[in-house]
């Protein structure tokens, strides 16, 4: 027992000092912290981490990634407060819920820390909290563009598979899509949950209960991958109009084999890479682009898939 205890104590301190070393190794350059609202389980944010790390290398800045473990936005507010207390040279953050986050973010701005909003939020909200700029894809507009495209392709009804029903910003994509089609959202949006088997079965159940559904819209790889499986199983793959947000290995495969008509790429790599570059140059030379930057929407279709395929899930 005593040995075990001693071992544990030694282990903790050893682990601690390794972490400490790892973080002070690149002490040269600015310290820039990116804070997201994503829970640990969300794989999409891996691209953000990769983009962040690469930008840090390229500009010679020390970068850190922070997120609330369960995706709780109130916990995220604490992380922002804490990051501000540690006086970094720049904060990159999402604005997933302005009610909760605008206070901590504008306090950080008031402390003199430059802040860039990425991904969630709007350019107006970013300006309200005093951020330098907004870099991302306006969600509603992206959904609207997708809906208009589907309408041109002759679609009149759809199923929206929402795996993050707790985040209203993501739901805006469904709302935008419905408005683009010119139909009521109504019961077309289902809360699919995060479990692949559940998602698959709910999609199958919805489609057998509503056989005249003309299109399926998924909001990310989490819901897209099981939906592809569902369509393959009930024989609708390739026959039903299928669009999705974000890219991933399975989605790219689906676009290639005709199961999916298009994927909307908001280019998360740019959402992480650009703000680091902007903040580093702002710190060093005081230069700043004069406008917000839209990283998306970009429609990815069967044409020009090679690059996308190569980097899906890593940098795309």
């Amino acid at each position: 027992m005593k040995k075990l205890l001693r071992g544990l104590v030694a282990g903790v301190f050893a682990a601690g000092s390794i972490f400490a070393m790892a973080t002070t190794a690149s002490a040269e350059g600015e310290r820039i912290v990116l804070i997201s609202h994503a829970p640990d389980s969300d794989s999409w944010w891996n691209t953000i981490k990769n983009g962040l790390a690469m930008a840090g290398e390229h500009v010679g800045a020390e970068v850190e990634y922070r997120n609330p473990a369960t995706g709780d936005i109130a916990d995220m507010a604490r992380i922002i407060e804490q990051t501000a207390a540690s006086n970094p040279h720049g904060i990159i953050t999402t604005l997933a819920d302005p009610d909760v986050l605008s206070g901590p973010i504008s306090n950080a701005v008031a402390k003199g820390i430059p802040v860039i909003i990425i991904n969630s939020g709007t350019p107006e909200q970013a300006a309200d909290v005093g951020a330098l700029m907004y870099i991302g894809q306006p969600e509603y507009d992206a959904g609207l563009a997708a809906g208009q495209r589907a309408k041109r392709d002759g679609i009149g009804s759809f199923l929206c598979v929402n795996h993050v029903v707790s985040n209203p910003v993501v739901g805006e994509r469904c709302r935008g899509f419905a408005d683009g089609l010119g139909v009521e959202l109504g019961d077309s949006m289902i809360d699919s949950g995060q479990d692949p088997a559940e998602i698959k079965n709910r999609v199958k159940a919805f489609l057998s209960a509503n056989p005249d559904t003309e299109a399926v819209l998924t909001l990310g790889p989490t819901s897209a991958d099981p939906t592809i499986e569902a369509l393959k199983e009930n024989g609708m793959a390739g026959n039903i109009y299928f669009g999705t947000f974000d890219l991933g290995t399975e989605i790219v495969k689906g676009i290639k084999d005709g199961t999916i008509q298009w994927g909307i790429d908001q280019q998360p790599f740019l959402q992480a890479y650009l703000p680091v570059v902007v903040l580093a140059n702002y710190n060093r030379f005081g230069v700043l682009p004069g406008n917000n930057i839209n990283s998306g929407p970009g429609f990815v279709t069967k044409d020009a898939l090679a690059k996308v395929e190569e980097f899906a899930g890593e940098y795309r």
Binding site: L8, G11, R66, K111, S166
Partner: protein
Amino acid sequence: MSEAEAKDAAPQEEDRDERIREISPLRKALIRPELGSICGVILVFVFFLMIAGDSGMFSPEGIVNWTVVSAQFAIIAVGACLLMIAGEFDLSVGSMIGFSGIVIALMSVTYGFPMWVAIIVAFMIAMSIGWLNGFLVIRTGLPSFIVTLAFLYILRGLTIFLAIFTTNKTIIGGVRDAAEGDWLAAIFGGKIFKGLFVWLADLGLIGKFVAGNRAGEPVVDGIPMLIVWAIVLIIFGHVLLTRTRFGNWIFAAGGDAQAARYTGVPVNRVKIMMFMFTAFCATVFATCQVIEFGSAAADRGVLKEFEAIISVVIGGALLTGGYGSVVGAALGALIFGVVQQGLFFAGVESSLFRVFLGVILLLAVILNTYIRRSITGER
């Protein structure tokens, strides 16, 4: 417990009169459930002073940051602690936080009731669900683990359903406007000692904002009511447990419920009241959060039930009931908060930091159990 321990200790000291039990002051201090967590607090602070001393963690705003997080844990840990000493668990705490928050936001923002009405109604609903939890545990004889696990899902589902059904959204904002000028909201969301902090800032002891509309104001402008609530609940819980007859009943109900019944302790009532108190604490948490952040969301409080239980266990309480202390649970909450926030300040890669957190928690609990076993001779 003390009788058994006297017997265990006896064989080594046979030359003494076995009827007289001598306990040295040192030993007396060592058998307190808080001991492990006091050691833990010291260890954790030394550790973070070493690796994150200059990171802003111990600047005024850094201190407020981890104190607030610890206070959050403490609020739900006090309820969980008393319930665990009474021999039961509540796994619905996290869902209750989300549920109460949505109730407050729905009533005040969506249906336009005054904020104080919304808060009181939320407390009443939450405490009646706490009562129902307790009632079902007592009536069915099922483990509270199962009953409250059911409510973990029932409440979470209801929360999401209520929010979407009434507003078509899962985050209800605008609470800050609704709470403006409300007397009850100020008790949950305000800050105290504001003048003191302005004075400290004028002396240059704490920093000021340098830009924007708050330029010139101190970066820390008061003690959040959340911290006051945590302290009040800790004191209340501690006094209730150690200075009142009801406190003895709590220990008795968790130690050996049947024996307690024979001696006239109303075990069922004690347990049900503790379930209600846990729900009360969860609602305090939810109300402070909703007022502070100005919005309620259906996914608030996920996993908070385990964070409460972890704080209580670090604090030296037994999972089997009948043993523990509120002060220990509060120190457990402090350790948890400092470790969780401190690792951020130390710049630990965020995916590794939970590994580290887990190891520290494990270490704290093993240390606790080891100290207690070696001192009390309990197996």
